[in-house]
Symmetry: C2
Subunit: 324 residues, 2 copies
Amino acid sequence: MTDPNVERKLVEIMRIINESDKPLGARLIADELHNRGYAIGERAVRYHLRILDERGFTKKHGYIGRTITERGKKELNDALISDRFGFVITKIEELIYKADYDLETGKGNVIVNITNIDKDDFDNATDIIKYAMDHGATISPRVGILEEDTDLDIYVPDGKVAIATVCSITFDGLLLNNGIPVVPVFGGVMQMEDYSPAGFLDLISYSGTSIDPIKIFLRRKATSILEAIDTGNGKMLANVRQIPVSAATRAEELLNIASKHDITGHLTIGEPGEDVLYAPIERGKIGIPVMVGINSVAAVEEAGIKVDTHPVSAVMEYSKMKKL
Amino acid sequence: MTDPNVERKLVEIMRIINESDKPLGARLIADELHNRGYAIGERAVRYHLRILDERGFTKKHGYIGRTITERGKKELNDALISDRFGFVITKIEELIYKADYDLETGKGNVIVNITNIDKDDFDNATDIIKYAMDHGATISPRVGILEEDTDLDIYVPDGKVAIATVCSITFDGLLLNNGIPVVPVFGGVMQMEDYSPAGFLDLISYSGTSIDPIKIFLRRKATSILEAIDTGNGKMLANVRQIPVSAATRAEELLNIASKHDITGHLTIGEPGEDVLYAPIERGKIGIPVMVGINSVAAVEEAGIKVDTHPVSAVMEYSKMKKL
């Protein structure tokens, strides 16, 4: 039992096979994994299936697919709690660790959100995303555009195009890479007044939840991004991280350097131990609120275009991402 | 500045008046408070308005309603963060403190959820609620039925009937009243298999969120209560509280006594420091999962009847609540 990330996927694949009453192939498993929030492609599923076969947990029946073995069923029952469901903070911390974006060169992995859009809606959707990004609603104006099989690690369903937007958790990655201990604390709904953030209206902690707070607000249709851009007053999504007070100056320098390569969008740097835009911050820490990349796709949904968004999904090479 | 509960309502009322471009009367303010999750009636609003007038924060203009004064606007800006938004745990702890239900006599206040139902849907809805309660989906089979002005503290909109269901947080109130320190930790989605709880599929922590976890799951339509009752397999909502290990025996006694007056529905009592149905529990504590009262009204929504539910809303005299 090695990489917990791999183990989690193995358990999820076994659950899917176990729940089916007939043998399942890699494509169907990839579809179902995707429904459950795992953004991995068909080829990666095949890789995981080979591991399961080797361990004797699944059995291949020619081309019709796999079934679970008795040994696999037992293993599934014994699976770790952390495989039963993952607290979202665990997944976020894994991605923070994987993000190796270099501030000076502008190269390396950033953390991205993945949004699947019907091919027919693609042009309209990107117009709105560009509009939101041009008006500073997101951490970066760059996107990655993925079609089926563009990236083996990121699954794009048939008939869809995926847009990768830079996730605000990328800030946490670049702070960590520069030696600053950082913890994402809250996702929330930010009230905008006269084109400025006036304060959080709702907050959900990143710790102790198995559903991403930003996804919760997205699902609740809690935003009015387009209104906020047009009139200055509306609701956007933002999140907050904490860093030690002593790292404040260094963090500010880093955030300034980051803006060279279009990574911006932090709203303010809080005062030591003080609430920042009404988000409570621990003693000895300062809070940094950042506009989330999801705002751009929330605007697409506000315009009545149906999309399917997975926040904090994967990492992607930033130098390959472009402005719309 | 006295009772924080009153202060919070005062601030919310000032915000509502401030956001309006014309004077507002008590009825409109009560409607809007209700939309914002404050279950207080028109008469209670009048009481709060008199306090605001006395403090010089609002001004009455004969029968057309109130406006906010300059002093009121300043006060609103200075309002405490906890008045900006309340973390749900604060509201829950207030209600736990107010619940004075006596296990032996079966009298005293329990904590209730309030669900507003169109008068036309009332008969169908209560049939389903009874069905869910008869099948053990809730902490108690008793309900309170409220029409407009039945209870001055609980607001019932025009054309609606409100049903009060016993909230699972009532358990926390009765443990606390008997000297057991108790903390509600998670709300979650429970997988039922063969008519038994198999484990949580999702969890959201009660601390650090301004939106009730159970409300989040309700809004996500995460349940399949009717299926769980009919086939034994489905998803219900449950929550978990922690108590010190040393209080386990006493808690078990209390829960047995509670069942005398139809308060049941706890699923199990966990082992010291061990996860209970996959919910993580701190060292030195035990976890007690309980089916939430909301399951009965979630079933109503599954049947396609539109209702409006406010979990953990108010307290109500238990001896006045009846089985359907």
